[in-house]
């Protein structure tokens, strides 16, 4: 699946969260959308799955515009892990993961088998599957959210700051696991982060954004070796950009 944004604009109130972006996400690659808070990274993800509508420009999937009807079918082909996981508190970990299977009336054996595969892939402890979200650790919440996004074996996986809420040890562990998962699946992955280290570690292509525009894109080594402007240099040098501590981000 090839996802493309052409001259896409999205405004919230007076300001533009996304201000005329052109981006193509190639199949099978992991792309990191990197940048300070409020630069429009999360908005790009929401635009891609039709959770928000653009005010200008065009978004296309495999060369065709986003469907106006039956956007659900597209969403099932794109796994989306929202910030902080977005697990449903009324469902156990297993029920969260298999919610779509329940909706699609899968055979319970099939759902159980898929759950087992995903738990193995994400190294999620089997005994924690019956727990409710408020009984899980931060790292476990993210693993469940990733399992849930992968249930229908989507072609694309979107992750919004999957590591930002975790403490350092857990963060490193999950980051390494994510790299393994991305390698194993070989899917198109787009990960939003404000952490330079994460982008460098996980992504084939880094897209550095600032104030709704793309500043520079390419492999991390290219950005580091030949920065397009002083902002790139400054952002890469500070490790996680000039805007920390991070404010509660809803539309970044």
């Amino acid at each position: 699946m090839e996802l493309r944004l052409s001259k896409v604009i999205k405004r919230y109130g007076a300001g533009a969260a996304v201000d005329g972006i052109d981006l193509t996400f190639a199949s099978g690659k992991t792309t990191a959308l990197l940048g300070p808070s409020g630069c429009g990274k999360s908005t790009v993800l929401r635009l891609l799955v039709g959770l928000v509508a653009p005010d200008g420009g065009q978004i296309s999937v495999d060369g065709r515009p986003l469907p106006a009807h039956d956007i659900e079918a597209l969403r099932r082909r794109i796994g989306y892990v929202i910030q902080d996981g977005g697990l449903f508190p009324h469902l156990t970990a297993a029920e969260n993961v298999t919610l779509m299977a329940r909706h699609l009336r899968w055979d319970p054996a099939r759902a159980a088998k898929r759950l087992g595969e995903l738990a193995a892939l994400t190294r999620f402890p089997a005994d924690a599957l019956a727990r409710y979200p408020n009984e899980l650790s931060g790292g476990q919440v993210q693993r469940v959210a990733i399992m849930r996004a992968l249930l229908l074996d989507p072609e694309v996986l979107l992750l919004d700051e999957p590591l930002s809420a975790l403490d350092p040890l857990v963060r490193t562990e999950l980051r390494d696991d994510l790299r393994g998962i991305f390698r194993t699946l070989a899917k198109t992955v787009i990960i939003v982060t404000h952490d330079v280290g994460e982008a460098a570690h996980l992504a084939d292509v880094v897209v550095l954004m600032r104030a709704g525009r793309v500043v520079q894109q390419g492999p991390f080594a290219t950005l580091a070796a030949s920065p397009a402007d002083p902002f790139v240099t400054a952002f890469l040098a500070t490790g996680n950009g000039p805007s920390s501590p991070r404010p509660p981000e809803t539309r970044g």
Partner: protein, 499 residues
């Protein structure tokens, strides 16, 4: 073909309706208002009507003139005891200007009997000792004593021919408060108040040793007791009408005070009082008529009460949850829906019941409808609040998964809102158990019945027979719904300690 069939159907329905109206086999419904004299007179009518081959039903102690008169007009009641003054001064006040009461009643398909022989008008009364000490003998003497505390029954407080007119005619300096007639006697006896309104046939005048103040400026109208009945009853059951007309001119004031005293002070049942009178004074030997058993079993009342609460609550849930969902989806509609449900809550229960009588008659239908309407608000509001209170991130999650709107509602939104929805249902249920006691005012039975009778007869035990089971039912229902809550509210939404 279809039109012809529809026409035939309409004719059938019309014929059925006509037959229903004039069918001599249909029960004759006798009613009375909620005070002892009315109940006794109603009981006499029941006994006399039951001496004919007619089926007779008695809806005793309905909640006030408005309720009974509207039920009579709507055809839910066929006959009840009334007073001329009540009709001319309040219910038909505008219509009777320059016309006779008979004409005005005829316009509404109603008729009246001749007077039963006594006049139960209003008067003011004080304790004999206190009146003597202050030298008060007539109403105008009250002007010199502004410190006296006056109470009037709520009807009298608001009626033009009650306190407002009296206040103006005598230029009384006192403020008056509204108080239930039977409670007022107790307040007067314990010196909690000084002056109250009485009816000139009240048993308590003798029992409490009261001085009735002279109406020296002829303010109060005559209240001659009559029977009001539907004109179509004369066509349907002339024998019943002839039978109850035997009461005309047979009861004088002293007799009525005596009858009231037997029922109220000697605790003889109204049925026995009525039968003894009929036997002694009219030579009536109807024997065992269908006497109204005021003391139905607690189980029977619980069944009535439970049916009122259960049916209304079920209907309220079925309507209010979808309304709450619509309200949450469409904020503009939401404001209107929640506002309208709130407005309903402010309508006093008796007023609501009176409004419903022309549509639903008397008995349990108007009571269930009223409880249903009162039950809507807590459920609508909580459903709405529960849905709009779902965190944005969870809505986003559900959409991002590719769940269509209906599945999001069923699998995510309603379960998340469930704790608040159940809380709303619990609130509605407890309100319904309490409010259902007013169902007795329109003849719906339930625990309100013994409460009304208990207040009327000054019988605290009887009041408890209604109040205690009602409280127990409220507590039991709360516990039952708590058990339901544990089943329907997902464990993940409860306090962490329970998990």
């Amino acid at each position: 073909m279809t039109a012809a069939r529809a026409g035939a159907l309409a004719l059938l329905v019309a014929a059925g309706a006509c037959r229903g109206k004039n069918d001599p086999g249909r029960a004759v419904v006798v009613a009375s208002k909620g005070f002892t004299e009315g109940v006794i007179l109603g009981q006499m009518v029941v006994e006399l009507a039951a001496s004919t081959p007619a089926n007779v039903e008695y809806k005793a102690q309905l909640g006030g003139t408005e309720v009974v008169f509207h039920a009579l007009e709507a055809g839910a009641v066929d006959v009840y005891p009334e007073y001329t003054g009540t009709l001319t001064q309040e219910i038909l006040r505008k219509e009777v200007a320059g016309r006779s009461l008979e004409e005005v009643l005829a316009d509404r398909g109603l008729r009246r009997s001749r007077g039963l022989g006594f006049d139960n008008s209003y008067a003011l009364a004080m304790k004999e000792a206190r009146a003597a000490a202050l030298g008060i003998d007539k109403i105008s003497d009250l002007v010199a004593h502004p410190e006296l505390r006056l109470v009037f029954s709520n009807e009298v407080m608001s009626r033009a021919d009650g306190w407002p007119g009296l206040h103006a005619r005598y230029a009384l300096p006192q403020e008056a408060r509204g108080m239930d007639h039977d409670l007022a006697y107790r307040a007067l006896a314990s010196d909690g108040v000084d002056v109250m309104d009485v009816y000139t046939t009240d048993a308590e005048i003798r029992a409490y040793g009261l001085r009735v103040l002279k109406d020296d400026r002829q303010f109060f109208t005559r209240y001659d007791a009559i029977l009001v009945y539907r004109a179509d009853l004369e066509a349907r059951r002339p024998d019943v009408v002839a039978s109850f007309k035997r009461l005309e001119g047979r009861i004088d004031n002293a007799t009525m005070i005596g009858l009231n005293a037997r029922a109220k002070l000697d605790h003889v049942s109204e049925g026995a009082v009525a039968r003894d009178f009929l036997t002694a004074q009219i030579g009536f030997a109807g024997g065992a008529g269908p006497s109204q058993r005021v003391l139905a079993s607690i189980a029977g009342r619980a069944a009535e009460h439970g049916a009122l609460v259960g049916l209304s609550l079920f209907a309220a849930i079925a309507v209010a949850v979808p309304l709450g969902i619509v309200a949450a989806r469409r904020p503009r509609i939401g404001r209107v829906v929640v506002g309208a449900a709130g407005l309903l809550q402010t309508v006093p229960s008796l007023a609501l019941l009176v409004l419903l009588i022309p549509l639903l008659g008397i008995g349990s239908p108007p009571a269930i409808a009223a409880l249903f309407l009162y039950g809507l608000l807590p459920i609508v509001r909580n459903t709405h609040a529960g849905l709009v209170g779902i965190p944005e991130s969870l809505r986003l999650s559900a959409r991002a998964l590719g769940l269509p709107p209906r599945a999001r509602l069923r699998l995510v939104e309603l379960p998340l809102a469930m704790p608040l929805i159940v809380a709303g249902i619990k609130t509605s249920a407890v309100i319904a158990v309490g409010t259902a006691t007013v169902g007795a005012l329109v003849g719906a039975g339930g625990f309100g019945q013994p409460i009304l009778t208990g207040i009327r007869l000054d019988d605290f035990g009887l009041i408890l027979q209604g109040a205690v089971p009602a409280a127990v039912m409220a507590i039991g229902l709360e516990a039952l719904l708590g058990a339901v809550e544990r089943r329907v509210v997902p464990r993940g939404l409860r306090a962490r300690g329970n998990a």
